[in-house]
Amino acid sequence: MPELSVGQAINNALSLILKEYPNAFIAGEDIGIYGGAFGVTDGLLETFGEERIKDTPIAEDVIAGLAVGAAMTDSKPIVEMQFSDFIVNAMDPIVNQAAKLHFMYGGAVNVPIVVRGASGAGTGAAAQHSQSLESWFCHVPGLKVVTPSNPQNAYDLLLHSFVDPNPVIFMEHKLIYKIKDDVVLNNIPSNSELLGQAKILSEGNDITIVSYSNMVNAVKGAISSDELSEISAELIDLQTLSPLDMQTIITSVSKTKKLLVCQEAPANSSVGSTVISNVVQSDAFSSLSIAPKLVSGLHSPMPSAKHLETTVIPQKEDIMQAIKDMV
């Protein structure tokens, strides 16, 4: 069981896919000799050649659009958005095409593509390179949205996203790329059963904490701090944001009677708001002993300076404070 960083885990998953699926290819900016802006595709060009590792011009619209056309014709494309912020240039192929074609054409076609992108803040790259836009895609019927938080689930979720017959938006928070852990290098699954399943990372009775992507790691830090050692928190990593595994959340909240949601993205029209809204519309409403709470990024573009950036992104301390206020 090798110890791999998230970046390496994804690289391994991509390698396996390319090996086992001759119709799979990867396209994106600087994914060849450069190995991707975050090194995720490092070495793949050498192994698989230019036919399968396709360096593109800087042209996100056609990167995503070609994936749609290729997927409709028996190819299995995986495309990289260098920073997920640039997905704004690819919204038509993703939202008006990939997401809709299966339904719009009456089920006659599938569009199995994976769009990977580096999301999130924390590197001082400022407003145009630091966004967490995953919530948008959850609002779009026909798309699935997946966000890993650690090497093992990055590896597994990417394989499951790949075999899913639908377009999947796969958002990799930049700050998780360097996180290392032992990874079981599972085979490619026969179906995407992992998608739509949240994962309970720690069981507890005092409070349910729902999070995803890198914020899961901040929550872990918070609940394992000495200061909170008395508190028994149930931590749920959503893993898939669309479809949401509400059942797991509702069951947990019914037990703990308290719900805290933590995300980096701002609150309005977000995953976190949806989780809270769904919980209070469910039977769990009556079991809530206090008001649920969402700890989210500020409603502000990301500033470049470090001390301002950390003001916008929820920090471990903010989460600890929220837990203390609630328990």
Binding site: N23, V62, V68, G69, M72, S75, P141
Partner: protein, 319 residues
Amino acid sequence: MSVTKDTQLELHRMMMLIRLFEEALEEMFSRGLLHGTMHLSIGQEATAAGACLALDKKDLITSTHRGHGHCLGKGADPYKMFAELLGREDGYCRGRGGSMHIADLSNGNLGANGIVAGSLTISVGAALSFQLQKKENIVLCFFGDGAVNEGSFHEALNLASLWNLPVLFLCENNQYGMSMASEKAVAGESIASRGHSYGIESIQIDGNDVEAVYESVSTCKDEILSNNRPKFIEAVTYRYRGHSKSDRNLYRTSEEINFWKDEKDPIKRYIGKLLEQGITEVDLKEIDEEVKNTIRTSVKKALDSPLSPITNLEEDSYA
């Protein structure tokens, strides 16, 4: 290249089919039978018919909001198209797509698209599949003169050229976007010259001359497959009807419309040519009757067919 008599009759038949199909739609619309709008290609039949009939069944097309002709040209069943526009279960998209979004994979139609220029990058991706799969087929991408100014057009042509993809870009230049004359919308010399700037060989043809369209698409296809280079055709044509059902035609004169109807109509012109070449009125009459009959029975069958049942649409949204 010489076009056989069979092909000639087939070209005529297809233009008639498209024309009568759309005239039938118009009439259904005026009777209030259709929900939504639609975009008629009446006057442009030569481009669709000529281009599609030059392709093999395994060649693919991508189509536009004005796509009935492309769809029929590629072999679609008019009954299933009518059924689609009427929201019937037998429709190509089971009533989910409607006029603007018919796909017919079985005949190599990857689908009409409601987004202007929306299918350009898709065609590039499909052509990439052909290249990777080492298939001897091409993708023919239909788009209008209005689509030429979208960013997607640029990105798609650049990539197709860089990667030597087997795609034929076919611009149906009917000289207007919705209301904007193409010369006010496309800077530079011509639409065809846009293709050149990506290193793609590009020609301008008379899109109302069905044999010219047929022959240049055939030639282009051969060249694409032998040179491994994309190609670009600008086919000049004209639409008689308004852009969609809400158009008051304020942006052009009735003289202009009548000129095209009277002097340049693709069907009339082709009938003239065929008669000159010895095909008889009787031959044509037989075809026209058959087409009329197809349309009549298809409409009736579609109107009699059951509505698409209300299924779980959230489940239908995912494969």
